[in-house]
């Protein structure tokens, strides 16, 4: 990604970009160092398991980056992570911890599925997709709004309420796919497959990457602008920094809290819709498969900043795809990729914290 980015940058506007990149270097250096440290620690674990680390890494790189299918899969898996991480970043700016991505993603997918079932197979695909997009965002926003309301009315910490709402969302999903929406009365409880016209279009025939990726990247820019270039973005960061001061300055903190959390919920709901209509096409008992929690980590890795979120999501998606190689090429247990992911997360958060301290 870096190679292409810098090439494009120098091509369009050389001077200021070079300066910008130079400024980024120290931070980037720390990142590289952190990841290298994580890989070094993981090497020890590999060696303990009688696997040659150099061998394991080179095979991992080969099967992850040299196979078109793997590269596509990285982009496919990255898409909902970007949106899920944005869903954490927006409330974080208002000082809120949204741990409810998991549930909001599920509810978004449920709303999308319900919409497609309501419109039926004969409706035009474009209409179904548009309706699913809207429905998923509204549903995700309302689901997160529950937590916001609980905070304002009863003073319930949103980190707790959003987390608990995840389990309720999962039960809602299970109820729907076990009973009213179940496709086949015998067999695995799932909904019926989305009609072809309502599936998100892919970028090219035979390619798995779907337009959801561009929606997600577009929203990265939109969220960046929203947080940094609008009055609302400024206000929520004031409310997040010091709610009392914000209140005395005449800001309606309640509305800011609700809106920040609901926008987060809408983004997560959209992630659910995109994963549903872009990849899964059916709701299954394990829908989402921890997407919300992975997104939460990705957002922390990116320190709640929209553009770094793209990188963090890319890292998590790459690791997830690389996990197959650890099993298939090196014969390691399936959970080893989780160990590697945790090491990278700890190393990056640990090694790069200084930067945040010095800034704030």
């Amino acid at each position: 990604m870096t190679a292409i980015t810098s090439a494009d940058l120098t091509g369009s506007n050389p001077a200021p970009v070079a300066v910008r990149l130079l400024k980024l270097l120290p931070g980037l250096g720390r990142w590289v160092l952190a990841i290298a440290a994580a890989l070094a620690i993981f090497s020890v674990l590999l060696a303990v398991k009688n696997v040659n680390p150099v061998d394991a890494y080179s095979k991992m790189i080969d099967s992850t980056f040299n196979r078109p299918r793997s590269v596509q899969e990285i982009f496919v898996q990255m898409t909902p992570l970007v949106l899920g991480a944005l869903a954490v970043a927006v409330p974080a700016r208002a000082g809120l911890t949204n741990v409810g991505g998991e549930g909001q993603i599920i509810i978004g997918a449920v709303a999308a599925c319900g919409t497609s079932l309501m419109l039926g197979d004969s409706a035009p695909g474009g209409l179904i997709i548009a309706a699913m997009l809207v429905a998923s965002m509204v549903a995700g926003a309302l689901w997160a709004g529950l937590a916001a309301a609980l905070r304002l009315v009863a003073g319930v910490n949103e980190a707790i309420s959003t987390l608990l709402l995840n389990f309720i969302a999962l039960d809602v999903l299970l109820y729907l796919i076990y009973q009213p929406w179940r496709d086949n009365p015998v067999g695995q409880p799932t909904t019926k497959e989305l009609v072809d016209t309502a599936k998100l279009p892919v970028v090219a025939a035979g390619n798995k990457v779907h337009i959801g990726l561009f929606i997600a990247l577009g929203l990265v820019v939109a969220v960046h602008l929203l947080l940094n270039r609008t009055r609302w973005g400024f206000r929520i960061s004031v409310a997040g920094g010091n709610a009392e001061a914000a209140r005395r300055a005449g800001l309606n903190v309640g509305v800011l809290v609700i809106s920040a959390l609901m926008i987060g919920g809408a983004l997560a709901g959209l992630a659910g819709m995109i994963h549903f209509a872009g990849v899964e096409y059916k709701l299954r008992p394990g829908f989402g498969n921890q997407l919300g929690y992975t997104s939460f980590l990705a957002c922390w890795l990116a320190r709640h900043q929209p553009f770094p979120i793209v990188v963090a999501a890319l890292v998590f998606a790459t690791l997830s795809v690389a996990g197959d190689s650890l099993q298939l090429d090196s014969g390691l247990p399936g959970s080893s990729v989780n160990v590697l992911t945790a090491l990278i997360l700890l190393a990056v958060l640990g090694f790069t914290t200084k930067r945040k301290v010095s800034r704030s």
Binding site: P68, N184, P189, V203, L217, G334
Partner: protein
Amino acid sequence: MSVSKSTLRLAAVASAAALALAGCASATESVGSTGDSAAPGKGTKAVGFIMVGPKDDFGYNQAVYEGSQVIKKEFPDLDVLTAENVPEDDTAATTMEQMIDKGAKLIFATSYGHLDAAMKVAAAHPDVVVVQQGNTISGAVPKNAGTYFGTVYEPMYLAGIAAGASTKTNKLGYVYAFPIPQTIANIDAFERGAQSVNPKAETITVSTSSWCDPGKQQAAAASLLSQHVDVLTQHQDCTATVIQAAEKAGAMTVGYHADASSLAPKGWLTGAVWNWGPLYTDIVKTVLAGDFVGSKFNANYRVGYKTGTNPFVLAGFGPDVSADAKAKIDAAQKWLGTDAGSPFVGPVEDQSGKVVIKAGTVPTYAQNDALSFFVKGVVGKLAK
């Protein structure tokens, strides 16, 4: 709202980079999936196994893994690829394709919920054979796909006899994952086995909606034990939690998937356990020779006591099983192997007392695979 130039530039760069990368990927697409579709899988150099859980789960996935290791031993030239913790969604297709990229032209997708992904991979790769363990392909079976399974409910019927003969409270407990036909047949067979020696026996069911969630298993076991259940059994992939809970409470256990008598030296009755080696070996041989298309495996293949090759066998007995019960189990096993034998010989009544299978009818394996109701004596509602 003012948008600065630098922001716009960043945005442009981000989308350009994404486009470029996605473009790269699509340009080099369409590798693989070529080759002779007449004999899919023929002469494959590698065989892949995907498992939904960990390969050391004291259960379903461990049995699969052990089966895969038999292949490794029987076919030393084959590269045996195993992947554990593969979820039952689209990621399963990705993992299977990674195996194809590594040269596998035969893949065992071993969890019930892997079927959708398996069918997708089979459709995209006509030169690769994908066999799925335990589910059923409805409609026409593609040339390069199939399902296989043992009649798990037959040994569960026998285990039900052990449970029915041993219970003191006449209450048996069943922890299950999903209300799929395979599971429903197990529960029904278990209850009917128990009834055959103890008409008062009832089976109380609890669903966990997960193949392996120790937290939920613990809660389910506790709930059953509090209802005075004194024999616990399960349809879960990982079995240790429920067995340990039963042993701790002084209840008896019927195991599933793997012999876990070491976990419950006091309460172990018996269990139904897998021995996949021989069947896996048969499938690999058929595919290697290029004979898969049109073979018995190119269908919904089922084996049981009637075919004499059930991969699901009865585990050893624990101390609580009486000699009388053992003799009854032995006789029942022989009877199940005959044309007249079945756990579901009519009359079979559903929970409301309605006769669903008429007196004298012996349902086929295929019919048992589509079972969708709880029999009388089973407590618990099926989602309808």
